[in-house]
Symmetry: C2
Subunit: 214 residues, 2 copies
């Protein structure tokens, strides 16, 4: 491996929303990288080697030469810092960047009923079979309200130029959209506009292994 | 209110680990700010005004003149970006900053059994009454192993100069330490070293309202 090669350790079913964010950032930047599929279904992330490399034992993990890093939001920011001459993954304006970070952190720490009831396997393998619970509906309503508040135009990215916050918010909304849940027309139009972005489609349209429960 | 005044909306019991991170950053920077206690026990964060201001309705929320922002990690980074001539909350070295972001993101998205079984009320109001569950022990072991891996010297900050990642990791370890759980001596010594930091003590030693369940 070259000293400065990039390797992204991601899940082999391509269903992790956190791997998604990293793939979008790498693609936007036009950086060459190797995708290393980790067999989560065989608990490969529990190996001593993976634990040492990632420090926290989590997927995704980015290797950059001798340095390696886990946590998707840290990886996205690192790519902006380490490859300052490539397209930015995060907005350049300070307040825009702050809001993008807020959206990304919020998506990672709230909305648990949506994440559980409309898991990413229902996006890429088999649609959900049960209606949303009351909690699920409540959180779907909140998600759509926040999206409506931050979207200024359904045909425009949130902060002028595209950023990973667009991708992450669209991804969360697609848990609902792909499962046929009600999403306000304006919010849906925006999410579908972002969904067409080539870096997003790179992950969404990848050829996947047959799914194995784990 | 002055155009560029800083106001931090935090919980009135001073038990939020996310408010903690923001207080540490503000104190380290020597910025003047007003602390606005939000009565979470009266669901004050659900008001239309708070929702509009914070976008996502979460605590903490920082107001900076007309701009306002929620999510603690976004707030900490914003303070570094917006007040570039003050002491930095995050490391300046790119790889150090990346690792600090990883630690902070990990603390916010993993270790749920510790966060539940050793909630922050057990740190500041009443110690936990039950032993850790098996899951709790498993996560406590993982927390201490990760801490041991990133600590180079128990009398030094993780990245040379102090950063909010030191504070956050020490805070998480103090859920165990203050409740008398077993923590390896080296890790405990480091956590207690960080705990003495004046910006940390500003939050830890604040005079608190009597606690009301909510």
């Amino acid at each position: 491996m070259k000293d400065d090669a990039l390797r992204l350790h991601g899940d082999r079913f391509w269903i992790s929303p956190y791997v998604f964010s990293c793939v979008v950032a790498l693609e936007e930047k036009g950086l060459a990288y190797e995708y290393v599929p980790v067999a989560l279904d065989q608990r490969a992330q529990k190996s001593a080697d993976y634990a040492r490399r990632s420090v926290t034992g989590r997927v995704p993990c980015l290797e950059h030469g001798a340095f390696s890093l886990a946590e998707s939001q840290a990886i996205v920011e690192y790519l902006d810092d380490a490859f300052a001459d490539t397209a930015r993954a995060m907005p350049t304006n300070i307040q825009h960047r702050a809001r993008a970070r807020q959206i990304m952190a919020w998506i990672r720490s709230d909305l648990m009923p949506i994440r559980e009831e409309r898991s990413t396997t229902t996006m890429f393998y088999e649609r959900a079979k049960s209606p949303l619970s009351d909690k699920g509906v409540e959180h779907a309503t909140k998600l759509c309200a926040v999206a409506d508040a931050v979207i200024s135009d359904p045909g425009q990215y949130l902060f002028g130029a595209f950023s990973v916050a667009d991708a992450d918010l669209s991804f969360m909304l697609h848990r609902l959209i792909l499962n046929g849940e009600a999403v306000p027309a304006r919010v849906k139009a925006w999410a579908e506009f972002v969904w067409k972005r080539p870096s997003v489609q790179k992950f969404v349209a990848v050829k996947r292994d047959p799914y194995v429960e784990y």
